[in-house]
Each structure stands twice: as structure tokens, then as C-alpha cells.
């Protein structure tokens, strides 16, 4: 007897046809599927935390002088751009820490050590300021966000997480 298990990835709903399978293989498949679903749920929770941090940052930083030192307010356009870029980057990289920049932008920051950090700043226009430190080396510049995550940013993050 074989187990019949269906999972519709596209619609995102989990549906199992009743199975009366009792073989060891069927049990293994059943357990693996449950492990995978649990892992997927945990992954979604991690994403939810990042979006929640982004939302909180926007709410905290949308007034003039939100830091007490004269910061510019984060505009709604910056929030949506940051959300879109973060969504694209979360497919490939760990969740960033989200913050507000006194320039009126949203910042995303990743770090693997005190002197291994990447920070990007997303404002209302399509240009993204970025900076990184890798030990004594410093990298900085401006990239364009047209549709996909800019190559300069993904290259820096790949270096941070996957290269020495």
C-alpha cells in the first residue's frame, strides 16, 4: 500500500488525502512532510519579525526630529521601497536589523562580526546608499534600485555570508 500525500505549493494550502498506509516508507514520508511544514512555518515567523521591525521603525521615525537630534522624517515612499527590497533579499540572505537614518531613510543592516557589517539606506528615490566594513577594508557607494535587488548589494551580502 502506498501513502497518498498532496501539497499545493502554488496556492499555499496544505491538503492531505486520507491515507491508510502503514508501511515504514509511508511513515517516513509522513514524518518528513510534517518536519518540512514545521520548518516552513518557523521560516515565515522569522520573516514576520523582520516586517514587524520595519513597520515599527517606520512608525517611530515618521515625525521630524524623531531621534531628538534633528533627524528628517522617514517618508512613506521609503517605507514601501524598503519593504520591497527586504522581501527580495530575504529570499537569499538572513534577516537584517532595520533602523531609521537621520537622512530620512530606512536602513537595513547585516553583521557577522563587529568589523564585518553591511548597511544600506533606502530613501524615497531609486538610489540606495550602501557601506560595508570587512576588517580594515571599507566599501561605500550608491546603487540603483530599479526592479531587482542591486547587484552591488547582493555581492556585498554574498561576501559577508558566504565568502571569507
Amino acid at each position: 500500500m502506498t501513502a497518498t500525500l498532496t501539497y499545493n505549493v502554488r496556492q499555499g494550502n496544505d491538503s492531505y488525502l486520507p491515507s491508510y498506509a502503514t508501511s515504514q516508507d509511508a511513515t517516513t514520508v509522513f514524518n518528513r512532510l510534517h518536519e518540512w511544514l514545521a520548518a516552513r512555518d518557523r521560516a515565515e515567523t522569522l520573516r514576520a519579525r523582520s516586517y514587524s521591525e520595519l513597520d515599527d521603525t517606520f512608525l517611530d521615525c515618521r515625525e521630524n526630529d524623531w531621534d531628538g537630534y534633528g533627524a528628517l522624517p522617514v517618508e512613506t515612499g521609503a517605507y514601501y521601497r524598503a519593504r520591497s527590497l527586504m522581501s527580495a533579499l530575504l529570499d537569499k540572505f538572513p534577516a537584517p536589523a532595520v533602523g531609521g537614518s537621520p537622512h530620512g531613510s530606512i536602513t537595513l543592516e547585516w553583521m557577522t562580526g563587529q568589523r564585518r557589517r553591511v548597511m544600506i539606506s533606502i530613501g524615497e528615490d531609486e538610489r540606495i546608499a550602501f557601506a560595508a566594513v570587512f576588517g580594515e577594508e571599507t566599501v561605500q557607494g550608491v546603487a540603483s534600485l530599479i526592479r531587482d535587488a542591486p547587484r552591488e548589494i547582493t555581492a556585498l551580502l554574498s561576501r559577508l555570508f558566504y565568502k571569507g
Binding site: 521591525e53 521603525t57 517611530d60 521615525c61 526630529d65 524623531w66 531621534d67 531628538g68 537630534y69 534633528g70 533627524a71 528628517l72 536589523a97 533602523g99 531609521g100 537614518s101 537621520p102 537622512h103 531613510s105 536602513t107 543592516e109 563587529q114 568589523r115 557589517r117 548597511m119 539606506s121 530613501g123 538610489r127 540606495i128 546608499a129 550602501f130 557601506a131 560595508a132 566594513v133 571599507t138 566599501v139 561605500q140 557607494g141 550608491v142
Partner: protein, 158 residues
């Protein structure tokens, strides 16, 4: 030009934290974000020279800074005709980033006295503004990342 004595390498400098947005929320050991070290709208960064101060004086100064900002903010909100309940507080002293003047200088910046108020100083020599806002911001972020790497954070007592 301030007449205060020059800032020596061994001096401790405090950057007062008034907004929770400057702190990581994931419980990490060093919770101060590099955002705390970004200068704007001036291209100097405001710090206090706390060497030789008793801890209670450092905290008092932080609370004074927060209180001044809060009063200014409250007046502004009320002036704009917006509601600002008596019990509401936007700025409070949450702690401070601490960094040695030597570390600031090793990052390529400098510290100069800037009084009043007493014992106030500015972190200076940030890259000159080019008129290109994003380029300026990326250059400042590079320095902020370096400062964040060598600072510590002293939280306010609950």
C-alpha cells in the same frame, strides 16, 4: 571656537540615546546600532566628555539632554495644534554609547571641544558634503560602521 581644553586620546565620550530606534531589539550583547553614529543635519556629531564624572552625573546629563528635547518637542507639537497628553513622553534617556577619543581618531575622525554646554564636544572631520545626498550618506555610514565596532553601550537603569 571653544576655549575648553583639547580632548585627549584617553578621554571617554558619551553619545546619549533618546530613541529606541537606535537599539537592536534582538537582545544582542552590544545593542547600539551604527545609526546612533550618523551625523545629521550638522556634519558634526554631538557627544559629552564624561571622563572623571561620577556615574550619577553622566546619567543626570543624559536625563537633562532628554528633558530638553522633550520640552522642545512638546512645545512644537502644541504650537502646531496637535494633541500631546501630559503623560506622553517621546524622548527619554535610554542609555549611552561610549567610545574613547583614541578610537574615534583611529577611525579617521577627530574630536574637538564645543561649548556650551560644558563638557560638550563634536566628532568632526566627516567627509565634506558633495551636494549628492546619497554619496554623502554612504560616506558617513562607512564611518558610523567603524565607530559602532569600537563603542560600548551603557543602558539606563530601569
Amino acid at each position: 571656537m571653544s576655549s575648553a581644553r583639547p580632548v585627549s586620546d584617553q578621554e571617554m565620550l558619551a553619545r546619549y540615546v533618546l530613541s529606541g530606534s537606535w537599539l537592536y531589539k534582538d537582545g544582542r550583547e552590544r545593542p547600539l546600532k551604527p545609526n546612533a553614529w550618523l551625523p545629521h543635519p550638522r556634519i558634526e556629531l554631538s557627544v559629552f566628555r564624561t571622563d572623571g564624572w561620577h556615574e550619577s552625573n553622566v546619567v543626570e546629563q543624559g536625563e537633562r539632554v532628554a528633558s530638553e528635547r522633550e520640552d522642545k518637542h512638546r512645545r512644537k507639537m502644541l504650537h502646531e495644534g496637535r494633541e500631546y497628553p501630559e503623560e506622553k513622553t517621546t524622548f527619554r534617556y535610554l542609555g549611552r554609547g561610549e567610545i574613547l577619543a583614541r578610537e574615534v581618531r583611529s577611525c579617521g575622525l577627530d574630536v574637538l571641544p564645543k561649548e556650551p554646554p560644558p563638557c560638550h564636544a563634536d566628532i568632526v572631520q566627516w567627509p565634506p558634503l558633495t551636494g549628492n545626498r546619497k554619496h554623502d550618506e554612504s560616506a558617513q555610514m562607512a564611518y558610523a560602521l567603524k565607530l559602532a565596532a569600537c563603542c560600548s553601550f551603557i543602558p539606563a537603569l530601569p
